[in-house]
């Protein structure tokens, strides 16, 4: 009890400052909550791939994953989160989640997101976990994320370069910026009546009078 009182008095700011501190703390808590809210960090607790797409920066990865064979068989978390024990699972999930949320909120993300070394190790483990039967007989079974960095074997996706996100990857890898205008479905005579030059939109070349 004594120690609790001591602690209470220790953190308690000096008299004149109390209201300021309370207000500041309130602001910070508010910002924190806002950040958590905006980033939907809470959804990280689950395993649904859809939660990853809370952030539009994850769209290209979601898109590439969902179109491949793993899109039917393996969720994001099954690759990107440790599956060997619960403690590690939630530790990695938690720290990664907070980091991503922070980066996202402050727009720190680079154009080309690259997996970090811890993440590499986790994914490699998971590839082997699922495909153990297949790689059992070759040295691949011993390759780890850290080992591969030192040249101790190649990572699975050094060869399987398109698995699962494809080899062309960036935040803009699935661009919808410019959608080409398709030829009009309206009959040409109608367009002409309306004052449009027929076929105009498909021409790629300017014609000059000569």
């Amino acid at each position: 009890m004594y120690w609790i009182t001591r602690l209470y008095h220790f953190i308690l700011p000096p008299k004149g400052w109390r209201s300021t501190v309370v207000i500041l703390a309130g602001i910070f808590t508010g910002i924190l909550l806002l950040v958590i809210h905006i980033s939907n960090a809470a959804s990280y607790v689950g395993d649904e791939p859809e939660t990853c797409t809370n952030c539009h920066v994850m769209y290209p990865y979601y898109a590439s994953w969902s179109k491949g064979s793993h899109g039917r068989e393996a969720t994001c978390a099954e690759c990107h989160v440790p599956q060997d024990n619960l403690f590690r699972k939630y530790y990695v999930k938690g720290t990664d989640g907070l980091k991503h949320a922070t980066y996202f909120t402050f727009r720190w993300e680079p154009q080309v997101i690259q997996i970090k070394s811890r993440g590499t190790g986790v994914v490699q483990e998971n590839c082997i976990r699922c495909h153990l039967d297949m790689v059992d007989m070759v040295q691949l079974v011993e390759v780890t994320g850290a080992g591969a960095k030192e040249g101790e074997g190649k990572l699975c996706w050094d060869c399987h370069r398109e698995t699962p996100h494809g080899s062309v990857r960036s935040l803009s890898a699935a661009p919808h910026a410019l959608v080409e205008r398709l030829p009009s479905v309206m009959p040409e005579w109608l367009l002409r009546l309306a004052g449009h030059e027929a076929g105009r939109t498909t021409s790629r070349v300017v014609e000059y009078p000569n």
């Binding site: 539009h56 727009r107 680079p110 154009q111 080309v112 690259q114 080899s167 062309v168 990857r169 960036s170 935040l171 803009s172 890898a173 661009p175 919808h176 910026a177 410019l178 959608v179 080409e180 205008r181 398709l182 009009s184 479905v185 309206m186 939109t201 498909t202 021409s203 790629r204 070349v205 300017v206 000059y208 009078p209 000569n210």
Partner: protein, 443 residues
Amino acid sequence: ERRSEAQLYFQMVSPIPEWEPDNEVWGNNFPRQYERYLKTLDTTFASKYYGSVMIDYLEKYPELVVMWAGYAFSRDYNQGRGHYYSVTDVWNTLRTAVPQPATCWTCKSTDVPRIMNEVGVAGFYNQTWAGMGPNIQHPIGCQDCHDPETMNLRITRPALKEAFARQGIDINDATRQEMRSLVCAQCHVEYYFAEDNYLMFPWDKGFTADAMERYKDSIDHVDWVHALSRTPMLKAQHPDYELYKTGIHAQRDVSCADCHMPYMREGGIKFTDHHLVSPLNKVEKSCMVCHREDEEALVSRVYEQQDRVSELRRIAEKNLARAHIEAKHAWEAGATEEEMAPIQQLIRHSQWRWDWVAAANAMGFHSPSEALRVLATSIQKSQEASLKMTSIFRKYNVDYPIEMPDLSTKEKAQAFIGLDMEQVNKEKAEWKQNVLPQWLSQN
């Protein structure tokens, strides 16, 4: 119509008139692209061999002065800068102190499509450079690559369309990915002036150095007669598109825009980076999208390839300067046209092949192995020319080896070929003081 939804994004603040040359007007509608476009004003970036800084090629490789004796390039030749400088640099270059046709402006300004629409294509080409001057006010920009109504990419320079048409290809059939290179191929290509200074691309027998050489031989094309070797020479100009076409990236459908105009994101909006510049200025956005190596590894691979090309390039230049000077001595000793003809043919082809790689930007990176192959054949041909000339020296009793002049600086080389640079510079200064201001006040 449901489709119009897709166009929502392009609802313009203020519609852009057809033929609008002013980039600012376009920029009102597309501030992101315009802002990045304005970055081409920046001349600070420098890589190992390129960048946006000015590089005086004649200073860097003085042999070029000898190789271009009798041609305006021996006065002045610089590494290109950003699109924003396209008109300024044409004003500045000493190459425009000799009479040039209006065709020179074709690849330099957004005013060109407008004027071509007014006076016709041939009508544009057959004017003079100086006569057209006052009409050219805007540097390269939106109008050159875009349809103002839809913002679709489109070809505004007829030479490209015509070159494809001669091969039976309708450029309207180009895919969208192809268009992302073809808009560049309007300008970043080898060209020549045909009758009445009509702009032509020499692709009728194919895109390679060898095929274009055959084509130019077949029409007896001559860009100038060399002042020392009296060879009917060819000049190659920036065959960027053609060399790129032989490389692995083109084969894998990577376009110019993929590397030089990568997508970028600002907030939730993706757009094309209109800061056209060396990709080594933005490796992360450009190369790393496809290559998961770190920046250092990627840049060092580029330099490694460029170093190889540079090594051969320098050999070729030394060979060629020597061959021209030897030929001069051969003529002076009394060699006949008949004796010199096969030698001149070798020099012509050798220099063409060297130029085909040297004039192309990127020091061969766009297709390292083709660049090296072509340079190697250039080396072989110029040495074969020197070899043949030894028989002439023997016959006419000229001491061999021929003593070479000091070509260690641009000035020495220009003095050697008898260029009065003081005069040339003076004329340019006068022109800038007297004529240029009038052009500028026209608009």
